[in-house]
Every structure is written in structure tokens, then in C-alpha cells.
Symmetry: C2
Subunit: 304 residues, 2 copies
């Protein structure tokens, strides 16, 4: 049995993952609480101790971190949400604490890719990219059945690609930014526009609901997001020649509303060699891709 | 001995390449003449026949094409300069003509990368990108000592990445476009600016000479090019995490004039993890990188 741990800016998720990708003993903790109480690493070790004592069948631990990792995958070198972990030899510390367990770490977006690759509906797909649309915009890729790490280990940071206005993709469509933009659009909208203007917009769920109800403003907001994603993906496709693209994360629930504008932007920007092969899909694992992929690090040794 | 053939939009170059990267029996033909007289492929076969008869020691032929190749490297699927070759089973045809020879084809910019990798001053470098600044803007990469092909075989088409104004990098700084821009700048320049305004600008050599002489307009033109290259490389670095970048092609002769603005743009755009490692260098092989790399396709079998 493998323990998968998905560390995010908001929460830390634990789960025991079976070969078939079933999650048991799922637990969720607040990242901030860990940081402010006992410190992040001591809290992490304590929680792992508890679970490994109660489930002695655990053979290994895979951990996903939302930051840049060292090329040798021994530590996290940039972790804006939990700076106290930066440059700490986290794998070595874990190995000292749990000498009988196999321990691996990886970037969280890359874990999500591994989750889709090993356990998702597109399991075993030779080449694809996963774009995770959440608070942040992460991404990762499988190229020739291998997790693509790039030259120094931190490939696929596409959320940080700049848009023409000098802001990054994430600064436009990271969920908080997208909701700010939505508030702006709504405040300017025609009062006759259905729904959104009258029903106060409280978040992504409301936005998606409004789009489903045919609200013009909501649809415009998703088109805006889709166009920016399409613009960024044009560059990424030119660099990687990957044309199968999955979308995960909270915003991807509204896939049907932003996918058409991505598709038409790619059709406009790219010659048929690329655009004919473009396949945009909703990722299959929703929120647990990262946790499953973290476990996959151990289960499928060859990926590292 | 290996026959290297570098096919370009303007000329086709032949050369016999030794293990050490020495070129002998160098020959150059006009691409247009081949196309308009006997047709491109018949001319190519005829020329190969002549040279293989007079040099029977030739064991293999490597050919670089300025276009997109099929994933299986049997044919060229997009070749704007010589459309008659598109989708022709060129490797099979060559094998029928020359059954005793090993025959391989590759994209020309990727050949140039292999040239630098096998024969250049940076020989054996684990990870680098080569950007070829000529009539077109090509590029290729070595990642973990392997030619990077991407998912479907045509990675690294960075010249076609869009700039904020909707034109591609190549449409800005491909040599003809850059010279157009230069003419515009010069026509507007202060008449007191040294050199360029008075000495009519006739091409890249004149532009470089003027920059060397300290001409303000010429220096401004290279800054302009450097900024656009830096903007594009920002995205490419985020996707590939490669920070060693070589520059080849005609415009790269003026490396000292455009490199500083690339460097400062990357410093501005990227966090220290990337920018601290950025190393910009002039490629070492100048014009024959493509020819050498084409030969390298055969010499270093493992690259394909």
C-alpha cells in the first residue's frame, strides 16, 4: 500500500492508494494551521507517523509539493506558499524518520499528470499535457510515456507565461483573478442580461451555473479565459508538439464553456498539422489527481 | 565517411564529413534551380549518385530539410520552400536508389543542434537550446543528451510563437523583416546619428558594422531584436527549463549587440531560479552546423 500526500497552498491531503487507484483513509489538513502551529515539516512527520503506525502495510510515501524541485528530487527549492520548507533536505529527513519506506517527492502539477496517466480515463496515453486550472495554473506533460521534466527538472510552468499585457496567464485566470474579472464584467453588464447581474456572483460554482443558464456575461467570461489559455497553448504546442490537452482543477468543471474558445483560437493560430490533431478533454480525476499521482510516484518506479 | 546534405530555401549544401567534423568536397547548389529544372528530388538523387560514385567510401547520408517531418522520419510533411517534396516518401526513394547506404533525414534546425552537440565548442553539453537567426528563425534542443523531438516529432518551432502584436517572432526578426525594420528606424533617425544614415544600409553586414562603429540606430535595432527574442525565450524557458542558449545563423554574428537585451529581458521576466543559470553564447559552427549535424544523424545512430 502506498501513502499519497498532496500538499497545496490551502490544504494537505492524505490518502492510502491501492494499485487500482482507490483512495482510503482520506484526510485533509489546513496548510496554514500546520505552518503556524508546530511548523510544517514536524506536522507532516507527525501525521505520517500516526498513519504508518495504524497501517503497517504502507510500503512507500509519495508527496507532491506546489513548487519547484531540485533536479535530483531531494528538496523543494521554491515554495512560495510554505517558504520554511524551501531548501530543507526533505527526502533525507523523511528517510531518517521512516527508514523502511520508499520516499519520493514531485511537483504537484506533475503528480496530477501522473495521476491521470496511471489511474485516469486516459490511462497509458503516450503523449498529453494536463493543465490544472485552480487558484494557480499548473501544468505537466507525458511525452513518449515519460513524465516530462525538461532540462533542469522544472518544465511546464505555463501559468507563468506572459500575456501581451505583461501579466501572466495565472494572473488572469487563476480562480481569484478570474472572479475579479467576472465581478468587473458583471458590474458593467446590461441589466437585461439574464441571471448573473441579479443573483450575486459568489464564486466559480455560481459562474458556471450562470453560464449553464445561458447568461451572456458568464459566457463572455469563459470566452475570455479560453482565449487566453488558447493564446498560451499556441506557444506551448509550438515548443512541445503536443496536441492532446486535458484540463483539470476547479475551473475545468466549466470545460464546455471555455473549451470552444480555446479550440477556435488554436485553429486560428496554428497550421493544420497541429490544429487537425488538437484534442481538448476534461481531465477525469477531478480533485484527487494530485494525491493519486503522488502515490503513483512510488507505484510506478520507472517514472523517476 | 558520411555525406551530409543541408537543404535550405536558398541553397542545398553537400559535404563529406569525417568523424572529427572536417568537411571535404563541399558543394553548393541553388534550390530554385533544382526545383525549376529537373525537379528537386531527381536533382538530389543525381547529385548523390555523382558523389557516391567518386567517393565509394561513403557509408551513409544524412539530410536536413527546412520543414516539419513525419514522426517516423520517413518523409517531410510541411516544406513551404519546396512544396513538391511534401509527403513524398523520400527515405524510401533514397533507399531504393542507394540500397547499400544508411539514410536518415531530420529537420534542418535540429540538424544544426546535432552539429553543435557532436562537433561544436559545446560538444557533449547535456542540455542546451540552439536558436538559429537567419531568413527564418529555427530552433532545437538537446535535453539530457538527446535531441528533443517533442510528442509528435516537431518540437521547438519557436520562430512561429506570436508576439503581442499578433506577428510571429520570425515575422519580426527573420533577416528580411529585421532589415525592413532597420530601414524604417534609419529613415526616422536623427541625422546626427553616426554612420548608418549616411552610409546606405545594404544588409546584415552593414548593420553589424554600423553597430560596431557605435551607431545609435543600429544599436537600437539590435536591442529591438534582443527584446523580442528575450520575450519569446521567457516562455520557452518556462516550458523546457533550459537556460543554456546558443545563437547561430547570420544575425548571430552580431551576438554582442543583441545578447545584452535578451539577458536583461530574461532577468526582468524570470525569478532567480532561472535567470541565475541563464548562459547565452554564440554558436561555434556558424554556417556549417546544419551540414555537420546532418552527417551526425548517421555518425551517432543513437540520436534517432
Amino acid at each position: 500500500m502506498i501513502l499519497g500526500i498532496d500538499i497545496g497552498g490551502t490544504s494537505v491531503k492524505f490518502g492510502i492508494v491501492s494499485e487500482q487507484g482507490e483512495i482510503s483513509r482520506y484526510k485533509k489538513f489546513s496548510t496554514d494551521e500546520w505552518v503556524s502551529h508546530h511548523g510544517f515539516i514536524p506536522s507532516l512527520i507527525e501525521e505520517i507517523k500516526k498513519i504508518t503506525i495504524s497501517v503497517p502495510e504502507i510500503k512507500g510515501i509519495g508527496i507532491g509539493f506546489p513548487g519547484l524541485l531540485s533536479a535530483d528530487r531531494r528538496k523543494v527549492i521554491m515554495l512560495p506558499n510554505i517558504p520554511s520548507v524551501e531548501n530543507v533536505p526533505v527526502v533525507e529527513m523523511m528517510k531518517n524518520e521512516f527508514p523502511d519506506l520508499l520516499i519520493k517527492i514531485e511537483n504537484d502539477a506533475k503528480c496530477a499528470v501522473l495521476g491521470e496517466y496511471h489511474f485516469g480515463a486516459n490511462k497509458g496515453l503516450d503523449n498529453f499535457m494536463l493543465v490544472t486550472l485552480g487558484t494557480g495554473v499548473g501544468s505537466g506533460a507525458i511525452i513518449n510515456r515519460q513524465l516530462f521534466l525538461g532540462a533542469r527538472g522544472n518544465a511546464m510552468e505555463i501559468g507563468h507565461i506572459f500575456m501581451p499585457d505583461g501579466k501572466t496567464l495565472e494572473q488572469h485566470i487563476g480562480s481569484n483573478h478570474l472572479l475579479e474579472y467576472a465581478a468587473e464584467v458583471i458590474s458593467k453588464a446590461n441589466p437585461d442580461s439574464t441571471g448573473l447581474k441579479r443573483t450575486k456572483l459568489t464564486g466559480l460554482v455560481a459562474l458556471q451555473k450562470a453560464a449553464k443558464a445561458g447568461d451572456v456575461s458568464a459566457i463572455e467570461i469563459y470566452n475570455y479565459a479560453g482565449n487566453l489559455i488558447g493564446e498560451t497553448l499556441t506557444s506551448v504546442i509550438r515548443v512541445l508538439d503536443i496536441t492532446t490537452i486535458l484540463f483539470g482543477g476547479g475551473i475545468s468543471e466549466a470545460f464546455e464553456f471555455f473549451a470552444p474558445s480555446i479550440k477556435s483560437r488554436l485553429n486560428k493560430n496554428l497550421p493544420p498539422y497541429y490544429s487537425k490533431s488538437v484534442a481538448l478533454k476534461k481531465a477525469s480525476l477531478s480533485n484527487e489527481a494530485g494525491l493519486l499521482g503522488a502515490a503513483g510516484l512510488i507505484m510506478h518506479e520507472k517514472v523517476l
